[in-house]
């Protein structure tokens, strides 16, 4: 055992890591918030809201993180997929009309799933186009990559404005997911439960793909050392386009979910969410799905608690959280890439 020779802080750190380490941070945050808020029912409502928000941000962040991890590509245009997903989701919901707003829960859900599916499929296709046309020519060149993706973001936002106009668009919410249920004195919006469950589902699916399939093995290896995977005979660029499409699809899915949550959307939605998404990716550590989930939950909880306690500090609090975590761990909480 090396423990007896290790210094005290290192021993404490080892002990913390053994019991889940940084995974307890959200719990710690929740406990502190409970002490500050005082009323358990308010706290519970905020916690659930935070978890739901975190899950939606997770959808948007996980793809970005993987894309970056695998190819060192930071897609500043990622938020365009979020925006597009939101508008396509909203449009499909509006088209389906009575399906969504009528009294039949099965049709309600089918309508919502159709809308989410439409957004997701669009995200995947747009991701394919984006990777081929915009990003592929500037691999390996970070500066031009950032510039090109910023340019593409401008164009994409303008296209959204061109198609849907600048006025906010209302999003019909499926009747079955409207309202709240009261459980042990705590009122919970049904849509939030839905968002949370969908996020969990996506996380579990991603986890299984990454850890139980050969494709996932290749992706994890590629995130660590792309060159070596190629030297073993695998085409990482083909892998990457798949990951890029999946990441864009998830961003669009997150956008559609967020549209339903907000009820009213504008073309600025993507850019507004992107700040949180970046913070999540930085906090979580680049290239790591667990990291993205952890970061997203922290950010979601923080945003909701602080919005209740000190409304004006909501976004700034997440920024401070990011600064604090960067001081403590410069590569984020759970980075996938070992340096």
């Amino acid at each position: 055992m090396t423990l007896n020779t290790a210094s005290l802080p290192a021993r404490i750190r080892a002990d913390i890591d053994r019991f889940g380490g940084v995974l307890w941070l959200p719990v710690l945050l929740a406990v502190i918030a409970l002490l500050l808020i005082g009323q358990p029912s308010t706290w519970a409502t905020l916690t659930i809201a935070g978890l739901a928000m975190g899950m939606m941000i997770f959808l948007m962040a996980s793809g970005l993180s993987l894309i970056f991890g695998l190819m060192d590509v930071l897609n500043f245009g990622h938020s365009a997929f979020v925006t597009a997903g939101a508008f396509i989701g909203a449009t499909v919901l509006a088209w389906l009309g009575f399906w969504v707003t009528g009294g039949n829960p099965a049709l309600n859900l089918a309508g919502l799933l159709l809308a989410i599916a439409a957004a997701t499929i669009f995200g995947a296709l747009a991701g394919w186009f984006f990777e081929r046309v915009v990003i592929r020519p500037v691999y390996q060149d970070h500066l031009r990559q950032i510039l090109i993706t910023v340019g593409a973001l401008i164009v994409a936002e303008e296209l959204v404005l061109l198609i849907w106009g600048g006025a906010p668009i209302p999003v019909p919410r499926p009747a079955v997911l409207t309202g709240s249920i009261v459980f042990a004195g705590v009122s919970v919006e049904i849509y939030r439960i839905f968002a949370f469950l969908l996020g969990i589902l996506v996380y579990v699916a991603m986890h299984l793909v990454l850890n139980r399939t050969r494709l996932g093995l290749l992706i994890r290896a590629g995130v660590e050392n792309r060159e070596m995977v190629e030297a073993l005979g695998f085409r990482v660029d083909r892998l990457f386009i798949l990951v890029f499409m999946a990441g864009s699809a998830l961003a669009a899915m997150g956008g559609a979910m967020w549209a339903g949550y907000q009820g009213l959307i504008t073309a600025a939605l993507g850019s507004e969410m992107m700040i949180l998404v970046f913070i999540v990716v930085i906090i979580g550590g680049l290239g790591s799905i667990q990291g993205s989930l952890l970061g997203a939950i922290l950010v979601g909880l923080m945003a909701n608690y602080v919005a209740f306690l000190v409304p004006k500090m909501a976004l700034a609090s997440n920024m401070l959280l990011m600064m604090a975590i960067l001081l403590w761990r410069p590569y984020g909480l759970l980075p996938a890439v070992k340096r």
Partner: protein, 375 residues
């Protein structure tokens, strides 16, 4: 290894790429264009006396400083920061808040602007030390987040910043249009070539000369040993580290210098406009403008900043008029008028920008002079 050796080594790696690709006709065009823009700005009040042109000229002056300071980062050092408007805003808000509370005086500009510059410096130091150690892309994200938070703070701490509405204030009496610098026999402001020598003229030259001084300072920095170290780092970070440069130290230094320059530009903007709000100094649109200007002009050239700013600003003010005409002329066609709607001007700019980055990554000045830009 001594510093002298290091600089020599840095200079050695630079020389081949410069001598091989020097391009005299192109350089002449660039110098000519910059000289033309410089002369036009120097005599703007006499050449273009109408109010709108004065606005345009002053905006160009301020943005040349802002964009050139951004070029110090992106062009000379390869750092991509999205926090440049944050520093710009700190300078502007510092000046604005001081002018509002202390009244219109030069000491308010000095104190408030100074406070803004110091705040920018400290923030740059913090961000730099915290995140310039890690990958370029990481830094871009950190600065983007920081800038957004600053924007939210400015609009929410309305007791100090005036929120979304911003702050309106008066500036020193010397700069008021009613002030007569020289009077003629009738006791009115003396006219030279039909232009009254009043406070407005003094204000313009205050902005112009300050901007000129700041710009020249930056060209000196670029030509100094620090400039060549930065270029060496940009070209090959690992090699620079191996030669013994403390990469983080140099990067943080230039990030701080750029922040100070941007904040100073913010002071000029605040004094000229007599108004400071999130839209005019902090918004992400301005950050995009800066980015477009520096890339269009040519990264890593300094002169490119002048060309990029002049071109983009003129286009912003005058191209939109042209698009409106086009939209009117094609009003009967489908889709086309929507595409030509002046509101959609960013669509075309964005497309042009993407093509530029693909085909002429070193921008106008860089392409003509055959240098600058990274890769």
């Amino acid at each position: 290894m001594t510093m002298a050796h290091q600089h020599a080594a840095a200079a050695k790696t630079q020389r081949p790429s410069l001598t091989k690709t020097q391009n005299w006709p192109g350089r002449l065009v660039v110098y000519g264009a910059v000289a033309l823009i410089g002369l036009a700005l120097a005599f703007a009040p006499f050449l273009f006396p109408d109010v709108r042109s004065q606005e345009v000229a002053a905006r160009i002056c301020v943005f040349i400083v802002l964009v050139a300071s951004y070029d110090l980062l992106i062009g000379y050092t390869g750092i991509v920061s999205f926090a440049h408007t944050m520093f710009f805003g700190l300078g502007a808000y510092g000046t604005a808040m001081a002018l509002k509370t202390m009244g219109p005086g030069f000491e308010a500009i000095l104190l408030g602007g100074g406070a803004g510059v110091v705040a920018a410096l400290l923030l740059a130091l913090l961000i730099g030390l915290l995140s310039l150690r890690v990958k370029a892309i990481f830094f871009a994200m950190v600065t983007l987040s920081a800038a957004s938070v600053m924007m939210v703070l400015a609009s929410q701490l309305s007791d100090f910043t005036g929120g979304e509405d911003g702050i309106t204030y008066s500036i020193p009496k010397l700069f008021s249009p009613a002030t007569e610098l020289l009077t003629d026999a009738d006791g009115k402001a003396l006219r030279v070539f039909g232009v009254a020598l009043n406070g407005k003229l003094a204000l313009y030259y205050f902005v112009f000369l300050s901007a000129l001084a700041l710009f020249l300072t930056m060209t000196r920095i670029v030509a100094s040993p620090l400039g060549s170290v930065l270029k060496a780092i940009r070209e090959n970070e690992m090699r620079a580290e191996a030669i013994g440069y403390r990469v983080v130290f140099y990067r943080t230094t230039i990030f701080c210098i750029a922040a100070i320059m941007a904040a100073s530009a913010g002071i000029l903007r605040a004094v000229w406009l007599k108004y400071t709000g999130p839209e005019v100094v902090l918004s992400f649109d301005i950050m995009i403008d800066i980015l477009l200007m520096v890339v269009i002009g040519g990264m890593g050239t300094m002169l490119g900043a002048v060309i990029g700013v002049a071109l983009m600003t003129l286009a912003q003010y005058y191209l939109k008029d042209l698009m409106a005409l086009g939209a009117e002329a094609t009003a009967n066609l489908p889709v086309v008028p929507d595409l030509l709607n002046p509101e959609r001007w960013l669509l075309w700019l964005g497309l042009g920008f993407i093509l530029l980055v693909y085909f002429f990554p070193s921008g106008i000045a860089g392409t003509l002079m055959g240098k600058g830009g990274s890769k």
